[in-house]
Amino acid sequence: MSKQRNGLNIQGKQQRAGWVFLAPAAIMIAIFSFYPIIQAFITSFTTGTGVNQKVADPLIYNYTRMFTDKTFLRSVGNTFLYLAIEVPVMLVLAILLAQLLNNKDLKFRGLFRTMVFLPCATALVSYALIFKSLFAQDGLINTIFVNLGILENNYNFLGNTASARVIIIIALIWRWTGYNMVFYLAGLQNIEYSVYEAAKIDGANGWKTFWKITVPLLMPTIVMTVIMSINGTLQLFDESMNLTQGGPAFSTITMSHYIYNVAFGRGVGKFGYASAMSFFIFILVAILSAISMKVGDTRD
């Protein structure tokens, strides 16, 4: 067999193989992600609806308009509120659970891990609907609280701003903690046990071990989960849509939900404006991810 059959040396062959393997995925991503992104960017410079859609004048009209849109600003505020409360609570819980369930002496570890992870296996819409019926005015939670004497009358959890927000946050924590825990578990298992042994010999207690060994060694995982959580929370949609429909009086609406409303929800069909707001989220995600990567960067 000739080694130079195609006139390529080994390196060239390998490169070609690499491209061939990359190509299917790359082409798919280009067609189904990058092309729509570019189209959306072009759309974001148009105003009007349907056939009356025309290039905006001035070109950045949609991008300036959103900062005078009270509902949009409210949705930004809501989303950041969810972000600020939910992400830290969820990640701390996840890391604690991972630590607990990584304990070699724990019995039924597999069972507990499965139980914590299980909420992630439920579809977003179905779990939102379950939470909705749990917290309905004649739902389980109300019945329990009234029977225990904690509440006097059935409370309209989803009909009041503060409680509706709390429920969305609780729902999010329930749904996503297990998901993040799995990453931490995987990260923890990559830490050599000998490192902990050495720490023990040096007399470090559990608290110190956690902060000086576990957290630094988990840092790449933590950064990844932070970025994923920020990204996910900024694009929050299903919970707002299904649990509260953004109400009462738009007080729980998220950015993505409002974008959906502008494009589809009320049949208004303002795709230009909706695309512009989507790019605002895109920029936000980029900035926040960059910050968390910078903060989490352990290289000197």
Partner: protein
């Protein structure tokens, strides 16, 4: 060499399995006949068969029986005809399908005919005129239809749609509960809202039931109350909310009703229908399409009766809310057949009596077609409503509904008024809440 062969084989197998898998999913998407009505979000399609029309619609208790009745009626005249109904879980599914198709400029996924909400249609013609085919030249006597109903499907004098149902608002009362409190149906007919509140308070205190409930998130109530006064939220294409004295009064009434336990506002539509089905209310006011929902509580049969709405002045109030019409989409290649079918059945043709009679029997769908409304079935008493001839009553009430100005932004206004009602209930002064709603709507109505 051998290794290469094996790897080639493996790649081949992988590719094959991928194709097979793709093929399978394609099959299931293209074979909606199996899915039919079981699948709630069934894919829409047209049929290659020249005698088959497809129609997308929602509501198995209401519109679907009406369409089935029409299909049967037309089949008697044309034995080869076949109507395939693609059932959707809600009207929004159809709206989104049209939006998506129109934005992609590819209508090939739409069915021949869609059922479409009246309040949305104008906007969809403005936005996507290419998505529809008009029915102007169909064999239909348009003067045989209610004017108010046609005002939704007629745009610049061109008829686009065929009315299916009738959105005339009914106020259904539990007469047995009214009786307990010493009132009759006459006492709640042609009354002011103040008087209504007085009665409602007594009903709540005596029976623990609200005299009225509503979905607080997409509130129908202010629209109906305004229309009963002969007014609209719009004037000359602009929203008139903040400087609208009637609306101010109406929102004050709504707040008072909430405070005095006359009106229960639910978080969403499910909560609203739940109230009715769990027997928590003594009165229901909405478009008459709500009747099948009321009738689901079988043990209350014979205890309900219907009448007109209260108004601010105390005259009898008439309004219309919701309802839908059938429209031919751009994807329909059998336009003549579709027009013939619609004219023969819903359009007052020979099959219309049969269509509307069966639609009424099976789904409680009431026509706005005047000649079809004179059929005997309409004069019959309905056992659930204490043998009152409610259908004749509804047709009669429908003739009093005033035409009010409509807008593409109907639902935007509705949503913001709902928010205003919530804000007022949380302590914002009425004027401020309305001012806020006005600003939001004005903003949304800019380009």
């Amino acid at each position: 060499m051998k290794k290469k062969l094996v790897s080639l084989l493996l790649v081949g197998v992988l590719a094959m399995s991928a194709f097979i898998a793709c093929g399978k999913t394609d099959d299931s998407a293209e074979a909606p006949a199996d899915a039919e009505s079981e699948d709630s979000a069934a894919a829409m399609y047209t049929s290659d068969d020249e005698n088959t029309l497809t129609v997308a619609a929602w509501d198995a208790n209401f519109n679907i029986p009406a369409l089935k009745a029409a299909g049967e009626a037309f089949k008697k005249e044309n034995p080869d005809f076949n109507l395939e109904i693609i059932e959707q879980s809600q009207s929004e599914d159809i709206e989104n399908a049209v939006t998506t198709a129109a934005e992609a400029k590819d209508y090939s996924n739409l069915p021949d005919i869609v059922l479409f909400q009246d309040h949305y249609f104008q906007q969809y013609v403005t936005n996507y005129p290419d998505a529809w085919q008009d029915v102007d030249d169909a064999d239909i006597d348009w003067s045989d239809f209610g004017e108010e109903k046609l005002s939704f499907s007629t745009i610049d004098g061109t008829h686009y749609g065929l009315p299916v149902d009738n959105g005339t608002v009914i106020f259904a009362y539990r007469v047995d509960l009214l009786d307990e409190c010493g009132y009759t149906l006459d006492d709640v007919t042609g009354i002011t809202w103040d008087k209504f509140i007085e009665i409602g308070e007594q009903v709540y205190n005596k029976t623990g039931k609200y005299l009225l409930s509503m979905d607080g998130s997409g509130n129908d109530l202010p629209y109906m109350m305004l229309q009963a006064e002969g007014q609209s939220q719009f004037k000359d294409g602009k929203a008139v909310l903040a400087d609208n004295d009637t609306l101010v009064q109406i929102l004050e009434v709504i707040e008072e009703m909430q405070q005095k336990n006359v009106l229960l506002l639910e978080n969403d539509w499910d909560g609203y229908t739940n109230d009715i089905q769990k027997d928590m209310v003594a009165g229901v006011m909405n478009g008459n399409w709500i009747i099948p929902t009321i009738e689901q509580v079988t043990e209350n049969s014979g205890k309900w009766e219907i009448t007109s709405m209260p108004t601010l002045s105390g005259e009898e109030g008439y309004a219309s809310n919701g309802g839908s019409s059938l429209y031919i989409t751009a994807n329909c290649k059998k336009t003549d057949l579709a027009k013939e079918f619609l004219a023969y059945t819903f359009g007052g043709g020979e099959g219309s009596i049969e269509t509307y009679d069966n639609a009424l029997r099976d789904g409680g769908v009431i026509t706005t077609c005047i000649s079809a409304g004179q059929s005997d079935v309409y004069q019959e008493g309905v056992a659930y409503f204490n043998d009152q001839a409610i259908y004749a009553k509804i047709v009669e009430m429908g003739s009093h509904v005033k035409v009010v100005e409509q807008s593409d932004y109907h639902y935007t206004v509705r949503e913001n008024i709902s928010a205003a009602i919530t804000n007022i209930h949380n302590g914002t002064p009425v004027a401020d809440a309305l001012q806020q709603a006005q600003e939001e709507v004005d903003f949304a109505m800019e380009d």
